[in-house]
């Protein structure tokens, strides 16, 4: 039987996987910032550094993987997609993430 909870869980997970949150960047970050931070996180994850394995969201910490970082970078390279993510990410600007 189809479950509404699964749809809701997917929607919620999608919001918490906002590329700006995954990369730990503000919505105003430039393309160069995105690339630099993404590469840095990939290197840290490849080296197995624990501090790179989690990222903070307004609703608690979440797990970060190399696939997510690559996906986030790809999303922010596309201006159309970036616009949508940026608009949502502005919602939690000014909130101390990770509370």
């Amino acid at each position: 039987m189809p479950s509404d909870d699964i749809c809701l869980e997917n929607c919620y997970a999608r919001h918490l996987e906002n590329p700006f949150l995954v990369l730990g960047l503000a919505p105003v970050a430039s393309g160069a910032d995105v690339e630099r931070t993404g590469q840095k996180l990939l290197a840290m994850l490849a080296a197995g550094l624990i501090e790179a394995e989690n990222y903070t969201t307004p609703f608690g910490p979440a797990m970060r993987t190399a696939e997510q970082v690559r996906w986030a970078m790809a999303e922010l390279r596309d201006p159309c997609r970036r616009l949508g993510h940026e608009w949502w990410a502005r919602g939690w600007q000014g909130v101390e993430v990770g509370t």
């Binding site: 039987m1 189809p2 479950s3 509404d4 909870d5 749809c7 809701l8 869980e9 929607c11 919620y12 997970a13 919001h15 918490l16 307004p58 609703f59 201006p79 159309c80 970036r82 616009l83 949508g84 940026e86 608009w87 949502w88 502005r90 919602g91 939690w92 000014g94 909130v95 101390e96 509370t99």
Partner: protein
């Protein structure tokens, strides 16, 4: 006098068994009782010689009637379930159930499926599955293994609201409900335990119901909880929990102080949650995704907040930013954002508790609330349509066994109930005549014709539901015919 009394008691017992469990159970019961009585008689003879005529009438009745009745009615299932089942001795457990006069001969294959489900054994081939309360409980146990709790809830909900004459054996209420309630208790889902124990009975179920009441903060009597714990099995395993509840209930006399005032950064989040629709939106999605109950009022209030957040100025800013990013179709992007918000609001409204505002009821500034009401209605209609699809009269598209067919119908029933609650009876009436009635009727008739008594229990419930719906919607001919169909299907069980 004692012989006359014994004969009357035995005749009443046999008649009750005949009515509930059929002639086979009586024959097995009489056979077992004869064996038990012979054994007890030998014992009683020796006790009688030893007591030298000092036993009174009460003890004589206890030895000659009560003990044999208990031995052959309750002992086999008790021994099979409490002693043999924990060791996984499925054939021995099944033999114990067979020897009990509480079990109907035709329930044995379904009990086998239920015992298999406890060990995560898949259902056998379709021809061996009969839809009844035992197999429904087996499906619920299987869903528990798969952590498909929505499916467990749907089955429990259906068993809670069975039509009055539908068969639900006492032993299934005792054993099957105990298994499910224990599993729900082990994951501390006390609301589910309370729902499940409503349809069960027995010592263990009674204890679990009281435990769930206590654990979920409802008022409870400590004395009753302790008594239920003493009477229930598995006392050692639950001792600590009962002791902790007893200590808690004794320390509850104090008045609870208010929660401490929020300080940053949690306070900053709370303030932001109330000031920004996006944050409120994600917070509400999170609450709903975690299975918390959300009120329709909260969803409507969020829609009002979105109405302001998605006004011309906000969308103009988005458009301007689109130009900065060199996105050509900025207006289209703004519409995409709006559509995605509406879609997620619809998901939230779908699970929220409460009434939707009537269509066109919102003010001119509440176009999003109106769009939400439209979208929810459309969503509910699509759900009815989707759940109707598997109910096909075509034998080639039929569910693999009658219980799976019954579960398909459970999904439809839930969708129809939601549609009626949210959209209203007039819209349901139109849907009843145009889509539901003939399709479900044709499907149930096909199931019955194809599978006969194997599907009798399930189809009696479906025909009863059809009759109830038809009655409420004023379709009296369909109500009368389906009531009769339900009666005929029930006779086969």
């Amino acid at each position: 006098m004692i012989y006359l009394l014994s004969a009357v008691v035995l005749a009443a017992w046999a008649a009750a068994l005949w009515r509930h469990n059929g002639g086979g159970a009586v024959a097995r019961g009489v056979l077992l009782m004869s064996l038990a009585a012979t054994g007890v008689r030998l014992l009683a003879g020796n006790v009688g010689v030893w007591a030298e005529g000092m036993l009174d009438v009460g003890i004589a009745l206890l030895i000659t009637i009560v003990l044999p009745v208990w031995m052959c009615v309750y002992f086999p299932t008790w021994f099979a379930w409490r002693v043999l089942q924990p060791f996984g001795l499925r054939p021995a457990v099944l033999a114990g159930f067979w020897m009990s006069a509480l079990v109907r001969r035709r329930d044995i294959p379904s009990i086998r499926i239920f015992l298999g489900a406890l060990r995560n054994v898949p259902f056998p081939s379709a021809s061996l599955v009969t839809a009844d309360a035992w197999t429904a409980l087996a499906a619920a146990v299987q869903a528990e293994h798969q952590r498909a709790f929505a499916r467990v809830d749907a089955i429990i909900e259906a068993l809670t609201h069975l039509p009055s004459e539908t068969r639900f054996p006492g032993l299934a209420r005792q054993v099957g409900v105990e298994v499910l309630a224990r599993r729900a208790a082990s994951r501390r889902d006390w609301a589910a335990v309370l729902r499940m124990t409503r349809i069960g009975h027995g010592r263990s179920v009674r204890f679990l119901a009281l435990l769930a009441q206590a654990e979920s903060g409802m008022s409870f009597s400590l004395g009753r909880l302790r008594l239920a714990w003493i009477l229930a099995p598995m006392r050692i395993r639950t001792y600590r929990q009962v002791r902790a509840l007893a200590q808690l209930s004794q320390s509850r006399a104090a008045i609870t102080p208010p929660p401490p005032q929020l300080k940053t950064p949690q306070a900053a989040l709370e303030i932001a949650v109330f000031s920004d629709a996006r944050l409120r939106h994600v917070r509400l999605l999170g609450a709903a995704a975690k299975g918390q109950t959300i009120a329709m009022q909260e969803v409507l209030s969020l829609a009002h907040a979105w109405q302001k957040a998605l006004d011309g100025e906000s969308l103009a800013r988005l458009h301007a930013r689109a130009l900065e990013l060199d996105v050509r179709n900025g207006a289209q992007q703004a519409q995409t954002v709006k559509a995605s918000v509406l879609q997620e609001l619809t998901e939230l409204a779908d699970v929220a508790v409460g009434d939707l505002p009537p269509l066109g009821g919102g003010s001119s500034t509440d176009s999003l609330v109106d769009a939400l009401a439209h979208s929810v209605q459309n969503h509910l209609y699509l759900k009815v349509d989707k759940t109707l699809a598997p109910l096909d009269a075509d034998p080639a598209k039929r569910a693999p066994h009658p219980l799976a067919a019954w579960e398909n119908w459970l999904a439809l029933r839930e969708a129809v109930d939601r549609f009626e609650q949210r959209v209203g009876q007039d819209a349901l009436k139109a849907l009843w005549y145009s889509q539901i009635r003939d399709r479900v009727w044709g499907w149930a008739y096909g199931e019955w014709k194809e599978r006969g008594e194997q599907s009798g229990w399930a189809m009696a419930i479906v025909f009863d539901w059809m009759a109830d719906q038809a009655e409420v919607l004023g379709d009296l001919p369909a109500a009368a015919i389906n009531r009769e169909n339900a009666r005929v299907a029930r006779l086969a069980v």
